[in-house]
Subunit: 274 residues, 2 copies
């Protein structure tokens, strides 16, 4: 019997567990979660087969791989804890949204830890919303270090392919720079926009466009506080650049042709990703 | 036979025409559009029954009301043109996203012009996307002046109620202040975000959250250049306030508890509007 050890039974980790079992990668899933209610939900909904109390980590021979679905601030610590319990042949991978800070915290680097980030998710959270289909057609960024064993990276990539995703390797730094733009900054702005709409007493003037724009604000506070803290420098730098660009466009209201052209370019780019 | 004269046969005006005819408010719709292809589409898709070339405005006794579906920069001029052709008993109303600048441009105020703004829309445009259901359950802000005839305001409000919407009266200034927050600023940020993602070469790191956040960037450049110009002061003021709030939240990464609490408040507000 081969088992997946899933630490953190939330939406992403839980979805990986469901998808991996459907793909017959493992035939047993052991869950660990510091949130006892979450763990109970994970067991009741079939995301995991058995739960272990947080803090207990017996070496178990049936564990073939470890998936860390914990907040980014907890990943490095869990890598160290888990690595001590299993051989260097056991793949350990995470699903966190920040990579540089996490890999820097693991010193010396662990040859069997493969940092991963699925560009997939939902504003819905927890094991009850987990879905075996979450990764189908989605991209997974994999950010191995030079110290990471190539054979282990390939095994973890094969897991992602088995659950329907494509993988793409790049450096942790490049990942964090790009995710600051495509995910972290949009979340930050969505939270700030909910403050502004309250200040302006404009809740009665909300339409569907505003709902789309702020959908990301319905995200888990603990996860996102840690992501912002974990990628602070890239987040701040990109916020300042976005401020410059936004003011620039706003200042074109005296030159309607230039404004139209700039909007048209942005629109064409948006069309291409739809 | 009672006719609606529809000037500007795009998504909003076209949807009003379809909805109004379904509600039996009018039995004939006459369309005018400076864009001949748009007008042809409006005729072919049954949004209007007949088209008139732009610039021709014969007084016609069958016209019971005039709906102006033109960009905000053209509304005041059209009010003046139309008002000269019909009696002061004929309701004229617009569907534009900016109100203060438009009503200031109409001097003296026309007693039969009722400024309206449906808080409804779509990133889809044009008469081919018009829908008789667009206004069902949506809010329409009506911003009459003290000079606007109460009886005419009530007739126009009854049109909106007949097509399934609710109406809400407020000043043009209040409308513009609030829409700057809930619509104009989100559009501006969505356009700017498409520039940032290009600069950062991060298109391959886009997930569904980013697509929601930037959906508004797929909007008509001419319409939005005019809206930004028409509501420039409120847009700029609210952009600066959003910048302050965003930097404030971003600066809390050194105090995770405070950051979490602030995100949690924003999240609860977002939950309430879902």
């Amino acid at each position: 019997m081969t088992a997946l050890l899933l630490v953190g039974t939330g939406l992403i980790g839980g979805s990986f567990a469901l998808a991996a079992r459907r793909a017959a990668l493992f035939d047993h899933v052991i869950g660990i979660d510091r949130d006892e209610e979450m763990l109970r939900h994970a067991i009741e909904s079939g995301v995991v087969d058995e739960g272990l109390p947080d803090g207990i980590m017996p070496p178990r021979e049936d564990v073939a791989a470890v998936c860390l679905g914990v907040p980014v601030s907890a990943i490095a610590e869990w890598v160290q804890r888990v690595a001590g319990c299993f051989s260097d042949d056991t793949p350990i991978f995470d699903v966190g949204s920040v990579k540089s800070k996490v890999v820097r915290e693991i010193s010396p680097p662990r040859p069997n830890f493969v940092p991963c980030h699925p560009i997939a998710g939902s504003e819905k959270q927890g094991p009850l919303n987990a879905s075996a289909d979450l990764f189908v057609g989605q991209k997974i960024v994999v950010t191995p270090l030079s110290e990471t064993r190539e054979a282990i990276v390939r095994v973890v990539e094969s897991y992602w392919h088995a659950v329907g995703a494509t993988t793409h390797r790049e450096s942790a730094e490049s990942h964090d720079r790009k995710l600051a733009v495509t995910s972290h900054l949009p979340h930050l702005l969505a939270f700030a926009m909910m403050e502004l709409v309250k200040e302006a007493n404009a809740e009665q003037h909300i339409g569907n466009g505003f709902k789309d724009f702020t959908r990301l604000a319905d995200s888990d506070p603990d996860i996102w506080a840690n992501i912002f803290a974990g990628n602070r420098e890239e987040l701040e730098a990109n916020l300042e650049r976005l401020i410059d660009l936004t003011r620039e466009i706003g200042a074109l209201t005296g030159d309607l042709d230039a404004l139209r052209q700039r909007i048209e370019s942005a629109r064409r780019r948006r069309e291409r990703i739809s």
